[in-house]
């Protein structure tokens, strides 16, 4: 599903490589956990899978990265977004709307669903994630966990083939972390390919089917 071949990337203006000589093949339906110390390149690896690198962050790009057979350099970001969805680490800044239900509808409308269809799917997704009680609440008033679940709902509602998550449990309490991983485990069992960057290695070992340690050395 995802292939890195002799891949290296250096951000524009940086001397040091963010990622160096990455050779990695992630099969379909995998639940891959990315571990590594801060600054090791976990976020850069996730950005490379979905095309944020090099479409948004420019730099020296070596080798090849492909997702579902599409080269991430040559394929427009609009096309890549149909395959992969990402939950960014800074969820607060990533929201496009004021209310959780609108946030889910926003992505669906962009992918061609009518307003009525989008609202129906948003309803179902909120039920699946157990966040129907968040309807009508201002996103900025939600707790860290509720915001993460809203961002996750917005990502999975568009039914991507690959779900990427960048430190999704960062500010959460232990119980909420487990909740997020249980949801992901269920989605993976339904066939979704998941790549997650997470500092808590115990969670990665418990829930992920494989693990990859990122190092930019």
């Amino acid at each position: 599903m995802i292939n890195f071949s002799n891949y290296s990337f250096k951000y524009k203006g940086n001397e040091k490589f963010a990622l160096k000589d990455v050779n990695l093949a992630i099969p379909e339906k995998a639940f891959l956990g990315l571990s590594g110390v801060s600054g090791s390149g976990k976020t850069s690896l996730l950005y490379s899978i979905c095309g944020i690198i090099p479409h948004f962050y420019k730099g020296d790009f070596y080798g090849h990265v492909s997702i579902a057979g599409f080269d991430t350099v040559e394929t427009p970001i609009g096309e890549l977004s149909k395959i992969a969805a990402i939950v960014l680490e800074d969820v607060d800044s990533s929201f496009a709307c004021t209310y959780p239900e609108d946030e889910i509808v926003f992505g669906l409308r962009n992918f061609g669903h009518t307003k009525a269809e989008a609202e129906e799917i948003a309803d179902e997704t909120m039920k699946v994630l157990g966040i129907t009680d968040l309807r009508g609440k201002l996103i900025r008033s939600l707790s860290g966990g509720q915001k993460r679940k809203t961002a996750l709902a917005a990502a999975i509602a568009i039914k991507p083939r690959v779900l990427l998550l960048d430190e999704p449990t960062g500010e959460l309490d232990p119980e909420a972390k487990i909740q997020v991983f249980e949801i992901l485990e269920k989605l993976n069992a339904e066939g979704l390919t998941i790549v997650i960057s997470e500092r808590n290695e115990n969670l990665l070992r418990k829930y992920c089917t494989s693990e990859y340690t990122v190092t930019n050395a």
């Binding site: 609009g78 977004s81 800044s93 990533s94 496009a96 992505g107 409308r109 900025r140």
Partner: protein
């Protein structure tokens, strides 16, 4: 009470089509500037206030007017001092004087300023950003990417207000006296707030743009 940006409600104004609200606000703003009389901005203020009350935002509008009055007084004084033609009302120092024409022009100017800002603020108060973007795209065929950018800019207003509060609190904790009195002292304190606010603003806007692109905003 909330600041600028959408506030939920079930009023007639909330349910009205965003484009109709936008057109009405533009008609009010045009009338304010097109009619050369103080009656125009005063009527616009009264009309906008009545509409705000009908949408359950009367107190909010009074709060906005109050904030704008502080700013308007400064503009009024500067503008009055710059107009030195006409009948003298109050002679000042160094040959400067307050004239009747100066007072009337400056009064009209600040009233027009307030009266033209409020209708648009009210539209944003009673319209969800996403609905406004959809309507601009569907009715005026504005590319969705741009319509979304216009509408989503308002989403960041409360975020920036929170960010500014955080920066002030962090600086206060490190000994900066933000409750200092005097215009010059307050102005000097603004620069160290603006810089981190600007840097954070650019970073947030970048993340928001990436997030929107990854959710197919360019596919529409």
């Amino acid at each position: 009470m909330g600041g600028l940006g959408y506030f939920p409600g079930d009023s007639f104004l909330h349910k009205t089509n965003p484009i109709i609200k936008l057109i009405i606000s533009l008609v009010i703003v045009t009338a304010v500037f097109a009619i050369p009389s103080l009656i125009a901005p005063i009527s616009a203020l009264v009309l906008t206030f009545i509409l705000a009350v009908s949408a359950g935002s009367g107190r909010w509008m009074l709060h906005i007017i109050k904030s704008m009055i502080k700013f308007s007084i400064v503009i009024f004084v500067i503008q009055t001092l710059f107009i030195q033609t006409g009948d003298t009302l109050i002679p000042l120092f160094w040959g400067l004087r307050v004239t009747y024409q100066g007072v009337m022009f400056s009064l009209g100017f600040v009233l027009k300023l307030i009266a033209s800002a409020l209708p648009l603020a009210l539209v944003l108060r009673v319209t969800k950003g996403i609905d406004l973007a959809d309507s601009l795209n569907e009715t005026f065929k504005i590319p969705y990417k741009y319509a979304y950018a216009i509408a989503s800019a308002m989403r960041f207003v409360p975020d920036f207000a929170d960010e500014m509060k955080d920066i002030i609190e962090a600086q206060t904790a490190r000994g900066v006296e933000h409750d200092a009195k005097g215009f010059v002292k307050k102005a000097r304190l603004l620069a160290p707030i603006c810089l981190p606010l600007l840097i954070n603003g650019v970073r947030k806007a970048e993340i928001a743009a990436i997030s929107a692109e990854m959710r197919g905003v360019s596919n529409r």
